[in-house]
């Protein structure tokens, strides 16, 4: 009986845990509660994934109203995969959060932080499970509003400005999305995603549909910071509390990309193939620009968190590149990179957050000689950095391999060269960190200490994940391949 309600529980448990968390008011109690809920959500997601892999997509009728009239929760391979990523990152970040947040926030704000975190988690999970385009908007607002608060709670006053910037651009993004959905509703009279996909062929080549697609694409691109629309991201991730930055960098943008895949392939795929809309050209152009320019900008950053955030913009470029390739191999690369980049960037933000615990803001200068003081942290950064660059044997290599294969399959050797070149830029900016930490002498009076085990272990779980998923691709690449296959509409 409970198994059949898993899709609802996936969202309801964190959603209702949030107000309960607000009632607790004691920092440690609220933390324990939020951690428990995060792990419960991971268990639910794992159960859903095994169920989807064995018996196919799950459909759940909210309030027992039959779709397309009622709201339907619909989970297929890719959404189950995303659920595991989001809840997995949440479950790893929460044990880390206690010490890190206690150092960064005043004690009376901690219960509110955990409340907002649970709301954000519920929103992201809701965006993933729901099969209703308007319901997506509702959950998008839940996730966004709570993440503005999470960012604004950051230790420096600049966090407020960063949160405000994100608020404005995030709201524009969500509004564009809902305008686009409005256009689709106008022409088809339905909001259910599966129903939309069925009805769109009936209204082929109508201008409102194309305008709607444009609004949805731009709105979601703002949400996941596609290259020219990325201005909110570096500030937001640099000034948010470390635990929040790690959680959001690994999940929030990824879920927005997932939605884009949903609309591009599930909803529009059949009636409006992407190449007909000239989307691949624009998409590949922007992706390549992001991969190169954002990486170059990252090289010139002195604030390490900003550097990592700009590197995220570049990595988003890899993911959208796979979408632009519009082939099964390319798409597999995209989906696998959603996961691999999630754990890699999550690991890096957690490790840098550990350095921030003792040094405050983390600049290249403050890293001088820190490897001798924090050998385990820096070793983690080396391994996660290798995964970011895409060295064979790490998770990052797997996704880039698929992307390069996808490019070669199209006969675009120049694109394969661009992917490699952009990876070399990652060598440069990660190299700056490592050069400072390992080769420069420590300034006198440096007091950095290894971070406590409660932070080190979660960070290292993700670091080990970077290697594990580089060597064993059964879980990631296989599921991503099946998801890509299903998205392109060739019998699941």
């Amino acid at each position: 009986m409970t198994l059949q309600h898993l899709p609802a529980l996936q969202v309801v448990v964190p959603l209702l845990a949030a107000p309960l968390c607000a009632l607790l008011r004691r920092p440690t109690l609220a933390w324990a509660w939020a951690t428990l809920v995060s792990w419960a959500a991971l268990v639910i997601a794992a159960l859903i994934l095994t169920q989807v892999l064995t018996t196919g997509p799950i459909s759940y009728w909210i309030g027992n109203w039959q779709p397309p009239w009622g709201i339907e929760y619909r989970i297929d391979t890719i959404s189950a995969f995303m659920l595991v990523l989001v809840t997995g990152i949440g479950a790893v970040v929460m044990p880390y959060a206690r010490v890190s947040l206690a150092a960064e926030l005043p004690a009376d704000r901690l219960p509110w932080y955990y409340t907002m975190y649970l709301l954000c988690l519920a929103g992201l999970l809701g965006m993933t499970v729901t099969g209703d385009a308007f319901n997506v908007f509702v959950f998008m607002e839940i996730a966004s509003l709570s993440s503005y608060v999470l960012i604004a709670m950051g230790p420096s006053r600049r966090a407020l400005m960063a949160a405000y910037q994100y608020l404005i651009l995030g709201t524009i993004g969500a509004t564009f999305y809902i305008i686009g959905v409005g256009f689709l509703y106008l022409m088809t009279g339905t909001l259910n995603i599966a129903d939309l996909a069925e009805r769109l062929p009936l209204v082929e080549n109508q201008r409102p549909i194309i305008v709607g697609l444009a609004f949805i694409a731009v709105g979601l691109s703002l949400k996941f910071a596609l290259f020219p629309l990325h201005f909110w991201l570096p500030g937001a991730y640099a000034y948010a509390p470390s635990a929040a930055a790690a959680f959001m960098a690994a999940t929030a943008t990824k879920v927005a990309v997932y939605l884009l895949l949903r609309f591009f392939f599930t909803v529009f795929g059949e009636a409006y193939p992407l190449p007909d809309m000239a989307i691949p050209v624009i998409w590949i152009g922007l992706s390549v620009a992001g991969m190169i320019l954002a990486s170059v900008m990252a090289i010139y950053q002195d604030d390490v968190k900003r550097m990592l955030a700009l590197s995220s913009v570049a990595q988003i470029g890899y993911i959208t590149l796979g979408i632009g390739l519009d082939s099964e191999v390319g798409l597999t690369g995209s989906v696998v990179h959603l996961f691999n980049h999630g754990i890699t960037k999550g690991a890096l933000f957690l490790l840098v957050g550990g350095i921030a615990l003792t040094t405050g803001t983390v600049t290249i200068a403050s890293l001088s000689g820190i490897a001798r003081r924090m050998p385990l942290t820096m070793a983690g950064i080396v391994i996660a950095g290798m995964s970011l660059i895409g060295i064979p044997g790490t998770a990052g290599f797997v996704s880039k391999w698929y992307l390069i294969l996808g490019a070669i399959e199209e006969g675009w050797w120049w694109l394969a060269a661009v992917i490699v070149a952009s990876s070399l830029l990652a060598v440069v900016y990660m190299g700056r960190i490592l050069e400072a930490a390992y080769l420069r002498p420590a300034p006198p009076g440096q007091e950095a200490r290894e971070m406590p085990l409660s932070m080190l272990i979660p960070a290292w779980i993700l670091v080990i994940g970077c290697v594990w998923f580089g060597l064993d691709t059964d879980l990631t690449a296989d599921i991503a391949g099946r998801a890509a296959h299903a998205l392109l509409g060739r019998a699941p």
């Binding site: 309600h5 609802a8 529980l9 309801v12 209702l16 949030a18 107000p19 309030g63 409340t115």
Partner: protein, 138 residues
Amino acid sequence: MHRESIPRVVTKLLFPFLLLFALYVQFHGELGAGGGFQAGVIVAATLILFGLIFGLRAAHLVAPPWIIETMIPLGVLIYGGVGVAGLLAGGNFLDYFVLDHDPVHGQERGIFWVEAGVLITVSSTMVAIYYAFAGRGR
């Protein structure tokens, strides 16, 4: 005697009627215009009027901040709890049909509690915003 005796006396006179009107709007919601949100705003407006006339400290005695801060999540919990009740009664999440033997009564009962949750959260949130602004200068 206070200088502003007219607003004070009128506020005291209006206070119960405003709350009664809020309850009317609350329970009339399923039949006509109204509902939890509107009723919540009226309850909050009543308290804010009280605070404006008699001062923030008096308002804090009538509605202590900790109660207000508890009510905000409580209303959300009631709202979500109705959905969970449907789950426990053997239906899907948010299924109100199973809340009573008669499905129509079940829907009615579900909506009643949802509106109650909305009333609690909306009224307390509005008052909390007022408290936050009014308390800033001190």
